[in-house]
Symmetry: none
Subunit: 139 residues, 4 copies
């Protein structure tokens, strides 16, 4: 079974943060393992207090289903997603801005952004994942 | 009052699991009593962590109303169902993939699947129930 | 990284159940992975509805800390355990009757019993773990 | 009003992580602002899933009161602390291993560790704070 290492997660975090600063956004970004537990995260100066919670919750949803942000949005009103959101006390948000992370065929985690536009949130997550050779995500 | 015995629930579980493996799916299946409490469940190798929670929550919804998966979906947006989902902290999911179990006219439990397509989830539940003589479910 | 397979968890479950019947207890037993998510469980005829919930919650606590039942009890009043219990909405119970499961040096899950005396709960968990060659637990 | 910057929090995080690796511990460390919201955190390879939650919750308690770990423990059974823990659903843990962070006289945040001994948790937090000129903590 493959795992996302701390070193890989740190590279994702720092590359996503560089993208955030380049875009001039006020965001947080979180990297979670395949079970949705935090490995690392960072909030840039000026990003609202809500963003650490939201970026993590988006990453949890993406890791739980191993699916793209667009699919997450489509699932948001399903009974399954509403049930899981309640079981997790809201700590699972099926919104755009998070992407699953794969090593080969295996889901190893997810990256979520919050605080920018939905597209910026996703762009930061993608930039982070692309910074690590051997990791892939969905389109 | 009729009851689902542990032996019957185990036969349901193992027959549902055989169907899951035959379909090549990565699923969990749960058997609950008429009150929605677990009698037995199993998760096959490689099935995501969300599936034990979801299959149980679907079975809870099915047992609570003694109705088919399709009816469950139709009820998902009703105030009654939304209220119950909140009371149970999400641990009741009115989604396809669970079937009620009857002995004669009496509701004695439900079986829920999660991790496959909605049809696979229901097929596994049905295969389980059909493995025990004297138990019936809805179409 | 090692994992507890479904086949191993089923052997644990069935051996624990055999021990429960031998003791004449009315119990449930749950096998969870290292993250506390259910792999399989069973409740014997006549065991109270509370027992599936409690045996799982004990196993969650044991898996979270990789420690023995006795240690769990000693930790029950610590702020850390009280905080985690609240975060998990009570679904983590530091009580006697659960044991961690190791493959070599690696924690791969836990087994929890509920419904008997504290000693019977632990004895059932231990009998289950001892039924699988290559798995170990604490004294 | 003074604030802990992202750059300062990152220095704290990385210095605390260096101390964790030096001690050979399997820990997580979190840096929160004066409100208890995450700025950054990291979990080292092999640290249990419970540690990201616990280190953050300890830091929340320390930031909420601006006090030392020892004081936190003494407060654990007070009605105020028990009430706050419940309001926060457990996400505030008054346990040793977190230290408040000051700029001059002003409380600007806290650092919490989890996964080592209580002393290691606190040592990692202290090493992090000491890595930034101009920041102080309590003895």
């Amino acid at each position: 079974m493959e795992r996302l290492t701390t070193a890989e997660a740190e590279t994702i975090r720092d590359a996503a943060k560089a993208k955030i600063l380049e875009m001039g956004a006020k965001m947080s970004v979180a990297v979670v393992d395949e079970r949705g537990d935090l490995i690392t995260m960072v909030r840039v100066d000026g990003a609202p207090w809500r963003t650490p919670r939201i970026c993590q919750a988006k990453a949890v949803a993406s890791a739980a289903f191993g699916r793209s942000s667009k699919d997450m949005l489509e699932m948001a009103q399903t009974p399954v997603m509403r049930g899981l959101m309640a079981m997790e006390n809201g700590r699972m948000i099926p919104g755009q801005g998070a992407l699953p992370v794969f090593k080969g065929d295996e889901l190893v985690g997810a990256v979520g952004g919050s605080g920018g536009t939905a597209q910026q949130d996703e762009d930061a997550a993608r930039a982070g994942i692309q910074a690590v050779a051997g990791l892939t995500t969905v389109d």
